[in-house]
Symmetry: C2
Subunit: 118 residues, 2 copies
Amino acid sequence: MAEKRVFLETDVPFTPVAWGQTKVLVGTAAGGDADKFYVAITEYLPGMGHKMHSHSEDDEVMIIVSGKGFTLSNGVRQDLVPGTVVHIPAGCAHENAPLGDAPLRAIIIKAKPGTPGS
Amino acid sequence: MAEKRVFLETDVPFTPVAWGQTKVLVGTAAGGDADKFYVAITEYLPGMGHKMHSHSEDDEVMIIVSGKGFTLSNGVRQDLVPGTVVHIPAGCAHENAPLGDAPLRAIIIKAKPGTPGS
């Protein structure tokens, strides 16, 4: 059986990605100790963003921690502020981006292990 | 296909539970729209706590948002502070409790839908 792990998210470094930076807390990319799901912290950096894409097999949940931005699907643009929760079903095309001068920081959860950028 | 949902966590009311209060953001108890995983916000209230228990099928991840507390497994007690991440594999017995006068607030993620208190 896998061991319980307790650590500070600040001890996990960010990795640069196309839309800013991300750090995987639990999941394949964090060491292969979670075969069920994936938890990360992502920062969409000012002037960057995540272009329209979808995940064919994974549901995704975003919880906005800080900053402002928007999420776009099917031509509908909705605000992202701290405390916003977004549930994106598998197959649903979506685009996320920050607004303003501060990073848009979010906890990202997927139903199955993934890799940053997937 | 399920619809994308965007909402504020503050619009979801807490439900009283044995260790404080909890609100399910995504999962069966939030309306049956997520068949893969479960995301909630829990507050362990001062003087209360979650007694030793385990989840036979679900992995659990906690991300501490505010407050202080501890998590205990196999006689090992570890601090919980904002930014602490805890990955509890299925079957691992654990106990969580707050310390001090403030609620211990955490984002709770399970690999499969559950119900508050499971």
